[in-house]
């Protein structure tokens, strides 16, 4: 299992929240083959600067790579992520054996 997480802030949170386009588009990533346990999250700790989060799981690295290269993901990154996200941090986990 690989858990892919991204903590992020938006350039214009009010606009992105009100318009709903960003989060509607974000949720479409859940339909990409291999994506499991897809979650849109609110970041609530005061100990970092991020406002939102995204979490999903893949069975293996191949499925994760196929997700990254999937047209739906590429389109989302180019159309929404690059224009509306201010800053982000990717953190990926595997179980510690």
């Amino acid at each position: 299992m690989i858990r892919h997480t991204v903590a992020f802030t938006l350039k214009n949170q009010k606009k992105s929240m009100e318009g709903l386009d960003f989060f509607t588009a974000l949720k479409k990533l859940a339909s990409i083959p291999g994506v499991q346990k897809f979650e849109c999250l609110k970041q609530i700790s005061r100990k970092n600067k991020f406002d939102f989060g995204l979490s999903m799981e893949f069975d293996n690295a191949t499925l994760y790579e196929e997700y990254t290269n999937h047209p739906t993901h590429v389109y989302f990154v180019e159309t929404y992520w690059l224009t509306e996200v201010d800053d982000f941090l990717e953190i990926d986990y595997e179980p510690l054996t």
Copy 2:
């Protein structure tokens, strides 16, 4: 639901991994009342500097606060965390409604 996560690096990873004391002590946090879905994780993204992760969930903020103040947690932080952890980042999530 509140998901409390911490990504971290160790000052001396080899020593902390071989001795097992750190991770043995870390896993005892799972026994604190209110802690659910406790996970020790390996951080695998090359896009950040962290090597390990910790994730757990609480039903509400009161249980999270009780965990923070619990003697088992306080003892772990003072005895292991402050001496063996090099750097860390706390990221806490709630479902985005």
